[in-house]
Symmetry: C2
Subunit: 244 residues, 2 copies
């Protein structure tokens, strides 16, 4: 993970050096931008750099549940860094078991651990599990269905926490300034893809100091617009006044 | 099937009778509308009646392939009528086998039979099968991947025909007149759904004499917008001049 951060920082420093070390081409704004020309997290050449990522089904766990599932003293072992600094796919997976003994055998655990455990599925997953998971934003799990998690060392009964994660966009405050939006606003994401272009509405802005500009959609959404073959992506403020 | 047609016709006749047998409230146009006030197929109260249907994965077969898969002399047995008159889900299913012996065990056959066999999958299905199925409109199968179909009486090797069906809208000529579109045009379908509204672009118009107004999307698309819980659907001409 540190390697990735370093590589990005070095890349940015080299770019700035090649430009003469001055400020970015587009005046950087927002709290993350320093006066010395270091761009906000994720920016390239003084501009936000939009990334759209598909979140496959995954699980977040508490420290306590990690120990129950993988054995006393166990901790999550990072396997692959995610784009957002500090987050990773762990080596560990769990089995998610639904109410009628239908199950998903190997669901990836994402780290770091959290204060509550949560299972994030696409609708296709939730249908195959037989769980009627509601669309929720991460953390809003009151009243959601539970499930059973099975690990090599034990099982956990979740009373709630199975959701379909609502689409959202991570960004830092400089990105938010760039788009003229603030935390909690809704945006639209247009995916131009041959024979299957889509406009996703209801994209929630989740802005903080350190995030890099990244939209998270689930596998159903990514497959509906064939994201891997998309020729253009555009994130825009939801402020069109036309009838559309 | 005839039962359904009769029921619809009777319903329409009763509606017209209650209105005094005169023409529809909105003047009916197009070739399917008779002067006697019988509405075009699928219309209710003199208006098009939009239906949005999810096409789950399915197979179309030739007469010859039906006999190979289900035994000499076999024909498709209608199990459930589809919304479009004359089309049905058959009692028969086949196993679809991909290149690495991954398979979908029970894929429904739709009738009536066709001049070529074709397998229609969602992208999620094609990933699980390990077949890189391209997005195509029905019938445009040149150069697409093949697969093996397995039935109770035999197997069929398809050299081509595995596609992801591109989204489209069936309509009759009166519907087309109503929307100001013609066969081959593209439309947009807006699905308003809590926290996951979507605008599907690239919806191909397939207009003929007898069709009822019905958009076909696949399971990935239906799940991406939670179609079952949608609060509003709108089909519109793709003619917006705004930046969106």
């Amino acid at each position: 993970m540190n390697q990735t951060i370093d590589r990005n920082q070095i890349e940015q420093l080299v770019r700035n050096a090649l430009r003469g070390g001055g400020p970015s081409a587009t005046p950087a704004t927002g709290k993350s931008a320093s006066a010395g020309g270091i761009s906000p997290p994720g920016w390239i050449d003084g501009q936000p750099n939009l990334r759209v990522s598909i979140s496959a089904r995954h699980v977040h766990l508490t420290d306590e549940h990690v120990e129950t599932l993988f054995g006393a003293g166990s901790v999550l072992e990072p396997d692959k860094d995610l784009y957002q600094d500090g987050f990773y796919a762990a080596k560990q997976t769990v089995m998610v078991v639904g109410p009628r003994r239908r199950m998903l055998p190997n669901v990836r655990v994402l780290g770091p651990t959290r204060n509550f455990s949560q299972v994030e599925l696409a609708l296709t997953d939730s249908i195959s599990l037989g769980i009627d998971a509601p669309i929720r934003h991460s953390g809003k799990i009151e009243g959601t269905p539970g499930c059973v998690l099975v690990g090599p060392a034990g099982t956990v009964q979740l009373d709630q926490g199975v959701i379909r994660a609502a689409r959202h966009v991570h960004m830092n405050f400089s990105d938010a300034d760039h788009f003229g939006v603030k935390n909690g606003d809704m945006m639209q994401l247009k995916i131009k893809s041959h024979d299957c272009s889509v406009v996703f509405e209801d994209v929630l802005v989740r802005a903080d100091e350190a995030a890099k500009l990244e939209v998270h959609i689930d596998t159903d959404e990514g497959n509906a617009c064939n994201l891997d073959a998309a020729c253009e992506v555009e994130l825009r403020k939801d402020d069109c006044n036309c009838k559309h």
